[in-house]
Symmetry: C2
Subunit: 360 residues, 2 copies
């Protein structure tokens, strides 16, 4: 069978890290006798440079025609890049939001876990880390403040700005179902995060999550306020399995969780909808300052490719092989500069990709 894979190389280090992920996918194709047809899709700064827009209709249509999309990272230096002289709706990030919405990718899954080999990079004290932690933030991705109506206007000579946070039962239900489904494959615990002591949308969130929980009697559900969750991620990340939350809280908490691991260059993410289609991208940014120097860490993108194999193509065996190859390379002592430590062998972006591909 042949799969159509959309490829968004993106900005900054995007093209380099994507190239290494494709190297790994090629190796998977060879070994497991699969065929991946790659189709380039423009998004973000690269799209602005080529078309004037961060996402064209055409690019969105191409993405829709794919079986899955692999993405690097998009955006540039917000103070020096000309992209950030453009109005907000024409900047690179607007393209990212538009493709998420346009593809209907309502479920964003961001695992955050500690690699035994990279324990030293974790900013937390050793006794807090213990045997490590392994959590997933399941973030709603196409609703809330990100996609509500907004406006800036003058009233009696004073400028005001308004953003709107809206959720419907249905939007909450479908992400909650995803969260519980993932929990069933993991340690069967869901922590639903909201601000129900203040927000109507959070009270609806809590109500619907409680309803969905009825269908998952095996899953332990707890509710946590977002301010408390921001504390608990630092105090004791081990307590979490699946954190289920709305768009803005998920943005903040997933980044906090990934920093708590200390190895953000290792963390992948998947943006999903119903069915098997998904968009896969590293959790880190486009790091324009180190672009083109062959020093970026391609592992998060390679692990995103592994998620693509697992969630979109149902190729668990191949995905396991990729994950295992990554672990093996770390065990063998190879490190890109961002995760380098004493006694290890420093390698560049390309070498890291090759080393991982070789181990598949």
């Amino acid at each position: 069978m042949s799969y159509k894979v959309g490829v968004i190389r993106g900005d900054g280090i995007g093209p380099e890290i994507v190239a290494e992920a494709l190297k790994v996918l090629d190796k998977v194709a060879e070994k497991y006798n699969e065929k991946f047809d790659y189709t380039d899709i423009l998004l973000g700064g690269a799209s602005i440079d080529a078309t004037g827009k961060p996402l064209t209709e055409e690019a969105l249509e191409t993405a829709k025609s794919c079986d899955a999309v692999l993405m690097g990272s998009i955006g540039g230096n917000t103070t020096t890049s000309p992209w950030y002289k453009l109005p907000a709706n024409l900047r690179p990030e607007a393209g990212l939001l538009a493709i998420r919405k346009g593809l209907g990718l309502f479920a964003n899954m961001r695992p955050a876990y500690l690699y035994e080999e990279l324990k030293d990079a974790c900013p937390l004290r050793e006794d807090i880390i213990g045997d490590g932690f392994d959590l997933v933030v399941m973030r709603e991705l196409t609703g809330g403040l990100y996609f509500g109506e907004r406006k800036t206007f003058e009233e009696d000579g004073v400028t005001k700005a308004v953003d709107t946070l809206t959720y419907s039962e249905e939007e909450i239900r479908r992400i909650a179902v995803r969260g519980f489904d993932i929990a069933m494959k993991r340690r069967k615990k869901v922590t639903s995060v909201d601000k129900a002591n203040v927000l109507d949308s959070s009270r609806l969130w809590r109500k619907v999550v409680n309803e969905v929980a009825q269908d998952y009697p095996e899953v332990e559900l707890e509710h946590m306020l977002v301010d408390n969750c921001a504390m608990q991620l630092v105090r004791d990340p081990k307590q979490f399995d699946v954190i289920l939350t709305e768009n803005m809280f998920g943005d903040i908490l997933s980044d906090e969780a990934s920093m708590v691991t200390g190895s953000i260059g290792m963390l992948s993410s998947a943006s999903l909808k119903e069915g098997s289609f998904g968009l896969y991208e590293p959790s880190h940014g486009s790091a324009p300052d180190i672009a083109g120097q062959n020093i970026a860490n391609p592992i998060a993108t390679i692990l995103s490719a592994s998620m693509l194999l697992r969630y979109s193509f149902n190729m668990d065996e191949a995905a396991d092989a990729v994950d295992h190859a990554v672990k093996q390379v770390l065990k063998d002592g190879y490190r890109t500069v961002d995760i380098m430590s004493e006694g290890m062998t420093k390698v560049g972006c390309k070498e890291m990709g090759t080393l991982i591909a070789e181990r598949i």
Copy 2:
């Protein structure tokens, strides 16, 4: 001169910790020949029990008539307390929001710093802590999602909930001015936190903060996205001096920052407006599970009383004496159970209050 001090004893451990703060204020009055007239004000659960409402008009008027208000903590166990069977607008927290708004307390100042003596409680690795850190979150407290219009309604048989995030130029300007003023008394750096790549309110926030910065040429200003700030607080809290942000982001980030210190039982806060009036409260919650056992840590409330002396009554010398007494007690090896460590002397809430008062 005589000052009228409103006293909100609150719920859970509130009454105990407030009693110790009053013990310290009494000692200050004696030593510095001042007079504090205390007036009890009902808020939260205690007010619900007595009046059916979390804040009465009468209580708000009393608070307005005071020169400053000292508060314990409010609220109960959200699953077992009958207060949480009430509709949201009648729960303890609604009283807290109502008094903030009713008194016009738009500027919430939450210091987060590491006590040399309590370094071991910090969840971060020692090399990240270094010589410690000392930051203040300046949070807008009467605008944004907390006080925007909200509603829950049915549309075509589907329930929807909407919250609104509104900011006006003026609301942003007055909190920004407060932030820069505080920075001038500290290390002269402001990190303004927003989500300007998504929200209109954040873009207005950034614009107004830039304008205000013109009047403070000595202060270094940087802008940071909220997701990045959530990461940086874990990665390197030393980089921050004053974090200036809107209400919801401030709620999340100030709690994260206080947990990063590891000693939330030590952290005070001030809610201010123009002029000298303020409401002072510990950053921690009402801990209903340990209420009435004489084991709560009163230090955050005692330090809130110190902030009251400093910011509302301009008694810097007395405030310094309180802060110093707290440090001295820690140096002398006394600890409540939450900050207890090997070789120290464990004391109860009352004893801690007495020990601090004695050192003034």
